[in-house]
């Protein structure tokens, strides 16, 4: 937000020049983005051209029931990267965590941006929306639900950022005390791009923005609204520890020999096999590593209901409920029922024995 060029009509090229980004490194970024999005190399000039001439689109960012982790993820970079520049070079007209204005002045900025760019602005949402009581989460006295519905009306497209906005996330976890729902649960008439993750990978959101700026359309989505280019493969299928899984070599604890040798973390609760995200390929912290590389199992944070999978350290093949207790109680009750049925059978046996009348010779000669 700081040091960005002023004026809404400035292009990204102008913004870059003012920040001292060379054309060479810009093209490198375009090439990396193209390959990340599985686009042919012929698309690189088109991306570069579109980005250079892109007028800063108006973006309204709404934060509802969230922890600000998504904003942290997207804004926290140690050095000024081009990804950040893309993010900086949009006209972020409303973001109550980042903006200086507050209260009515902030709301006025949102309303002005909505009016000025009606039908054209991008709406970014992080956080879930509580439906049980509007008072659970409000901004300037406006309930999350009312603000979302009003702002979504004039949006060209909506980007739901983070697992809370995409699938309800932590607030939606059982027993869901606030009646939290996702953006997609409420809005059905606008294109919604789901960028889940807790938080999502920064490069994924810039990738989605780049796609939108280049083609003016939303990227191809999977069956739960995620861009296929980033969420098309599971962590497991791209995991460098996969050969150990295939061989059946697992770390049993966090500090045993297996863990030191970098064996598969399935037994320690890794949700990589059922989680679709780009962590294993794009990695985190400027490509340094990702959770599994750091020795921790994947939590499955980019999937719906990842808090309700029975615990982060419970392997996928384990039941989520306490089955031992169920089995013991059931066996006890069933044993009692078995005894009762047995007693019933015995009394039936005894009764039929008693009712049995022997046939005598006299009976037969009658």
């Amino acid at each position: 937000m700081t040091n960005r060029p002023n004026g809404k009509n400035i292009t990204l090229a102008d913004a870059m020049r003012s920040q001292g980004i060379s054309r060479r490194s810009f093209l490198k970024f375009c090439a990396a983005t193209a390959s990340m999005m599985a686009l042919p190399p012929a698309m690189i000039p088109r991306i570069a051209n579109a980005l250079e001439n892109a007028k800063r689109p108006s973006v309204i960012w709404l934060s509802f029931q969230e922890c600000t982790g998504c904003t942290e993820s997207l804004t926290r970079a140690h050095t000024a990267t081009i990804e950040n520049l893309i993010f900086d070079s949009i006209s972020l007209d409303y973001h109550h965590t980042l903006q200086a204005a507050s209260g009515h002045a902030a709301e006025a900025a949102r309303e002005a941006a909505m009016e000025e760019n009606y039908g054209k602005y991008l709406l970014v949402v992080d956080g879930s929306i509580p439906l049980d009581n509007p008072g659970y989460s409000t901004i300037a006295g406006i309930s999350n639900y009312d603000m979302l519905m009003a702002t979504a009306k004039g949006a060209a497209a909506i980007i739901a950022v983070g697992t809370c906005a995409t699938y309800g996330g932590i607030p939606h976890a059982k027993p869901n005390p606030t009646g939290a729902v996702s953006v997609g649960d409420l809005i059905k008439d606008k294109p919604i791009i789901n960028v889940p993750g807790c938080p999502p990978i920064p490069v994924v959101i810039t990738g989605v923005l780049t796609h939108y700026l280049t083609f003016g359309t939303i990227p191809e989505l999977d069956h739960i609204g995620r861009p296929k280019v980033f969420y098309g493969k599971s962590i497991h299928d791209r995991c460098y520890r996969r050969p150990f899984y295939d061989k059946g070599l697992f770390a049993e604890t966090f500090d045993d020999e297996g863990a030191k040798k970098g064996w598969c973390l399935f037994k320690l609760g890794c949700k990589g096999p059922t989680t679709y995200n780009a962590c294993a390929t794009t990695k985190w912290n400027n490509g340094t590593s990702f959770p599994i590389e750091a020795g921790h199992p994947c939590l499955g944070c980019s999937e719906p209901d990842f808090w309700d999978g029975g615990g982060f350290y419970k392997a996928l093949s384990m039941p989520t409920e306490n089955i031992s207790k169920t089995a013991v109680y059931t066996a006890g009750a069933a044993a009692a029922a078995g005894v009762a049925i047995g007693a019933l059978n015995r009394s039936k046996q005894a009764a039929s024995k008693k009712a049995h009348i022997k046939v005598t010779v006299d009976d037969l000669t009658k």
């Binding site: 059946g248 719906p304 069933a334 044993a335 029922a337 049925i341």
Partner: protein
């Protein structure tokens, strides 16, 4: 319902319901059988019931020569898929984790590729017994709905498990969910069909041996 919701359901409430039906069904049936009792045998015992009973449990595991000659295919294929099922259920690492979670202890697993090979052999053996069932006129005549149901619920977890491990077709959570669901189907059907033989087999073998032992004849 998303795939993860489905997976969470089969790992949670679904598995719980299947466990209740499975455990209750088996315990009630075993109690029912045991409590039927036996008539007092007034004849004098001519040998030991116990030793003959236990001996029979072992000796009946080996088919006698004439039976083997008559039903070679049934016996060989039967042994193959039973051993295969045993290895897959009890020696695949993720399955052992499940047992450890429920009964509190685990045991060493076989390498995954070995279990994978057993899965292929077991599926082939189960397909072969079905083909044999329809090719053999007598078996075909004797086949009823229960036989086919039992065959289906046995092969379903094998096939779904195999494709879930190799991640073929659907998305991973859907495949894993389907595999667990097929196991739950097996658990629900188990106590009410001939699958119950897994629990009554040794009881009835012992009883057969015990009768002979009491009479002092070879079982």
């Amino acid at each position: 319902m998303t795939e993860i919701e489905f997976l969470n359901w089969v790992r949670g409430p679904g598995f719980q319901m299947a466990t209740i039906i499975f455990v209750a069904g088996i315990v009630i049936r075993i109690f029912e059988i045991l409590l039927l009792g036996r008539k007092n045998n007034l004849a004098e015992a001519k040998g030991s019931e116990m030793s003959s009973g236990f001996k029979t449990i072992l000796t009946r595991s080996v088919p006698d020569a004439s039976t083997f000659k008559r039903s070679t295919f049934t016996i060989v294929a039967g042994y193959i898929f039973h051993i295969g099922l045993f290895v897959i259920i009890f020696f695949y690492a993720p399955h052992i984790l499940l047992f450890k979670d429920v009964i509190g202890f685990g045991w060493p697993a076989l390498p995954t590729p070995v279990v994978d090979a057993f899965a292929v052999i077991t599926i082939i053996a189960l397909l072969a017994v079905l083909v044999h069932r329809f090719n053999n006129k007598v078996l075909h005549y004797l086949t009823n709905f229960e036989d086919l149901l039992v065959w289906f619920v046995t092969i379903a977890p094998l096939v779904t498990g195999y494709i879930a491990f190799h991640r073929i077709g659907m998305t991973a959570p859907a495949l894993l969910g389907l595999h667990i669901l097929s196991v739950e189907l097996l658990m629900v059907v188990f106590p009410f069909t001939k699958l119950m033989h897994a629990f009554t087999l040794f009881m009835s073998r012992w009883y057969n041996g015990a009768i002979s032992g009491y009479r002092g004849v070879q079982s």
